[in-house]
C-alpha cells in the first residue's frame, strides 16, 4: 500500500517537473536555437531534447522543491547552460601513435567511395577500341601461355582437370588479385592532388581500387563459365560457396594494398618493388600447379600465404576435382584477417603524415 502511494507521489512530482521544465525551456530565450537560422536549427535540434532530459533526471531526485532549483538554475545561467551543451564538432590536436579505424567516417563518405569506383571503371577503358575485351585478354593470354609452357612442355599435373581450364581458373583469381594490388598500391601517389588538397578518409582510395577490380573479375568469371561449358565441366552446388572465397580474396588484396600504398607515399620504391613482389607471389601460390604437388607436411606452412586458400577454394568450387582441406582454409582466413587489420591500422597511423610528405 505504501509502495503504491510512493509511486503515485513520485509520478505526480515527475509530471509537474516535466511540464514545468518544458515550459521553462520553451520560454527561456537561448535554450532553443535561434529560429531565424534554419540551417542551424536542423543541426542543433537534438540538443534541447538532451537538455530537457538532463533536468528531468535531476528534478525528481532532489528532495526539496526541485522545480524551484530548476527555475533558479535555468534563469540565472541561461548562457552558461547553452555553452555547456555546445561541443566542438571536432577538435584539431596533434596526435601520436595508433589511431582508431573510424569505420563510421568511412560509412559517412560511402558516396565518395562509389563515385571513385565509378570514375575508375569509366576511366580505365576510355578511348580504347576493344574496351572491356582487354579485361578478358589478360588472363586468357596468360592462361594460353601457361598451358603451353607448364601444361605441355613441363607437364605439370592439374588434379585431373584439363590444364587450360585449371590454369585459367587460378588466373581468374590471380588477375583480380594482382590488378587490385597494382592499382590500389599506387592509388595514393596517383591521386596526390586529392591527398594534399581535400579532407576525406584516405582509406577510400585503395579501397575503391580493390572494389573496382571486382567489376573486371565478374567479366572474367563469365569467360570462365564459357570455358567450363566448352570443356563440359558441369557446375555444381559448390558454386554457392564462391562468394565466401571472393570475400576473403578481396580482404587480402585490400590488406596488402593498404601496406603498399601507405609505404609508397614515403618510399616511392614500393611502386617498383610491387611488380616483383606480385611476380614472386604468383609462383608462390598454386596458380600454375596444384597444391597436391606440395609435400603434405609443408602444406600448413604453405597455407600461410593467404592466396593459397582462396585459389584452391575457388578451384574446388568450380572444377570439383580437388579435396578441400578445412584446416588449410582456416589458416588462410586467419592470415587474410591479419593482413587486413594490420594494413588498416598501419595505414591509419601513416595517414596523418600523407599530406605533408606526398
Amino acid at each position: 500500500m505504501s509502495d503504491t502511494k510512493a509511486i503515485v507521489t513520485e509520478f505526480v512530482k515527475y509530471a509537474i517537473c516535466r511540464i514545468a521544465a518544458q515550459a521553462i525551456i520553451l520560454s527561456v530565450p537561448g535554450a532553443w536555437p535561434a529560429s531565424g537560422n534554419a540551417n542551424c536549427a536542423t543541426i542543433q535540434s537534438s540538443k534541447p531534447l538532451a537538455l530537457r532530459e538532463r533536468y528531468l533526471k535531476i528534478a525528481p531526485l532532489s528532495t526539496e522543491s526541485p522545480i524551484v532549483t530548476t527555475v533558479a538554475e535555468l534563469s540565472t545561467r541561461p548562457i552558461r547552460t547553452q555553452a555547456r551543451q555546445q561541443k566542438p564538432t571536432f577538435r584539431i590536436r596533434p596526435t601520436k601513435g595508433w589511431a582508431a579505424l573510424n569505420v563510421r567516417e568511412l560509412w559517412k563518405y560511402r558516396d565518395l567511395l562509389w563515385i571513385l569506383v565509378e570514375r575508375d571503371t569509366k576511366l580505365l577503358y576510355k578511348q580504347t577500341a576493344l574496351g572491356v575485351a582487354w579485361v578478358v585478354m589478360q588472363p586468357l593470354v596468360a592462361a594460353v601461355i601457361f598451358a603451353v609452357v607448364f601444361g605441355r612442355v613441363a607437364r605439370l599435373p592439374s588434379d585431373g582437370a584439363p590444364y587450360l581450364l585449371f590454369v585459367f581458373c587460378g588466373l581468374t583469381v590471380w588477375t583480380y588479385f594482382s590488378q587490385a594490388l597494382q592499382h590500389a598500391g599506387n592509388s595514393l601517389v596517383r591521386n596526390a592532388n586529392l591527398v594534399s588538397k581535400v579532407y576525406f578518409p584516405k582509406l577510400l582510395l585503395p579501397l575503391a581500387q580493390t572494389l573496382r577490380g571486382l567489376v573486371d573479375f565478374t567479366v572474367t568469371l563469365v569467360v570462365l563459365l564459357v570455358l567450363m561449358a566448352i570443356y563440359r565441366v558441369p557446375p555444381t552446388f559448390r558454386l554457392a560457396v564462391l562468394p565466401v572465397f571472393l570475400f576473403f580474396m578481396t580482404l587480402t588484396a585490400t590488406g596488402v594494398a593498404l601496406w603498399f600504398s601507405a609505404l609508397s607515399v614515403k618510399y616511392r620504391d614500393c611502386t617498383h618493388a610491387l611488380q616483383y613482389f606480385i611476380q614472386i607471389w604468383l609462383y608462390a601460390s598454386p596458380v600454375v600447379y596444384p597444391i597436391s604437388m606440395i609435400p603434405e607436411r609443408w602444406r600448413p606452412l604453405f597455407a600461410l600465404n593467404p592466396a593459397v586458400g582462396f585459389i584452391e577454394g575457388f578451384r574446388w568450387a568450380v572444377l570439383g576435382h580437388s579435396v578441400l582441406n578445412p584446416s588449410l582454409l582456416c589458416i588462410t582466413i586467419v592470415m587474410s584477417l591479419v593482413v587486413l587489420f594490420s594494413g588498416a591500422f598501419f595505414f591509419r597511423r601513416a595517414e596523418r603524415g600523407f599530406a605533408d610528405i606526398i
Binding site: 596533434p94 581535400v198 579532407y199
Partner: protein, 265 residues
C-alpha cells in the same frame, strides 16, 4: 562564448626541411634510409640528430577566434603560412602543437577543380568534384541544374573536360564549389579566376554565402576584395599573427609595412 565557430589556440606547425645530403635532393628512398641508418644513429648520439634537417615553422603560436557568421580575410605575403592554416583547419594536415576547435560542418576550397579528371565529361566531373568536397550524391543531384546554370556550360555537359577552354574548366569547378553549403567555409585564393564578369559573379556568390549567416575564412592577395567582402582581417607574417581587427585598419598596416620594406630593399 556560445557563438564561436572556430577557436584557434597557440597553433603551430613545423616542417622538417631536409638539407641536401650526399648531393641528393630531399627525396627519400628506402636504400638511402637503410644506408644512412647507422650514420644517423651515430649523429643523433653525437649531436642530437641535427645533422640533416632543420625545423621550419610555417605557423608559430597563432591564436584567434572567429564567431559564427563572421567573414574573415587572411592576408600576408607568399609563404607565410596562410594556406597551411587552412589546411590545418580543414584537417588535411595536423598541427605540431596547439590546436583548434571547430563548431560546425566545414567545407574547404583550397584549389579550383580538385579531383577533376580530364577524361571525364563535365557531368561526371560535377559529381566527382562534389563528392570530394563532401556533398552527398542526392545533394548534388538536387543542385545539378543550378550548378550548370551558374557555370554556363550546359552545351558542353557531355564533353570530356580535357576539351574545355581554361575559362570553362575553371567556371565549372568554381560552380560546384560555390554550391557547397557548409556552416564554415574555408576558401584559398580561388576568386582570381575567369573573366571580370565571372569574378563578379563569384564575389556575389561569396557575399550571398556570408549573408546567409555562414562563417567564412578567406585568403586573398587582393586587398580590394578583402575590404569589400570581409569586415575583419588577419595579417600573418612568417607564421605569426601580426595584426587582427577591422579589415581597413589591418590592410592599412599591411600595405604600410609592404611599402616600408620595399623602400628598404
Amino acid at each position: 562564448m556560445s557563438d564561436v565557430a572556430i577557436a584557434v589556440k597557440n597553433l603551430s606547425k613545423s616542417f622538417k626541411i631536409a638539407h641536401q645530403r650526399d648531393g641528393l635532393p630531399g627525396y627519400r628512398t628506402l636504400r638511402d634510409d637503410l644506408i644512412g641508418l647507422p650514420q644517423r644513429m651515430l649523429a643523433r648520439w653525437k649531436r642530437n640528430g641535427q645533422l640533416t634537417s632543420e625545423t621550419f615553422w610555417a605557423l608559430k603560436d597563432v591564436s584567434f577566434e572567429v564567431k559564427k557568421g563572421e567573414v574573415v580575410g587572411i592576408i600576408g605575403r607568399n609563404g607565410t603560412g596562410k594556406s597551411t592554416l587552412l589546411k590545418i583547419l580543414s584537417r588535411i594536415t595536423e598541427p605540431t602543437s596547439g590546436g583548434a576547435d571547430i563548431y560546425g560542418r566545414v567545407g574547404a576550397l583550397l584549389e579550383v577543380g580538385t579531383g577533376f579528371h580530364p577524361e571525364l565529361t563535365g557531368r561526371e566531373n560535377i559529381f566527382m568534384n562534389g563528392a570530394i568536397l563532401g556533398m552527398k550524391r542526392v545533394e548534388i543531384q538536387r543542385k545539378f541544374a543550378e550548378i550548370v546554370a551558374f557555370a554556363g556550360i550546359d552545351k558542353f555537359l557531355d564533353t570530356p573536360v580535357k576539351r574545355y577552354s581554361t575559362g570553362m574548366y575553371v567556371r565549372l569547378a568554381f560552380a560546384v564549389a560555390a554550391h557547397l553549403d557548409p556552416e564554415i567555409l574555408l576558401v584559398d585564393e580561388v576568386l582570381a579566376v575567369g573573366d571580370t564578369e565571372f569574378q563578379q559573379k563569384c564575389l556575389g556568390k561569396m557575399h550571398d554565402v556570408s549573408a546567409a549567416g555562414r562563417t567564412v575564412i578567406f585568403i586573398s592577395h587582393s586587398m580590394e576584395v578583402v575590404s569589400r567582402l570581409c569586415p575583419r582581417a588577419i595579417w600573418l607574417h612568417e607564421g605569426q599573427l601580426i595584426s587582427d581587427g577591422p579589415s581597413d585598419a589591418v590592410i592599412a598596416k599591411y600595405s604600410d609595412a609592404g611599402d616600408r620594406s620595399a623602400i628598404q630593399t
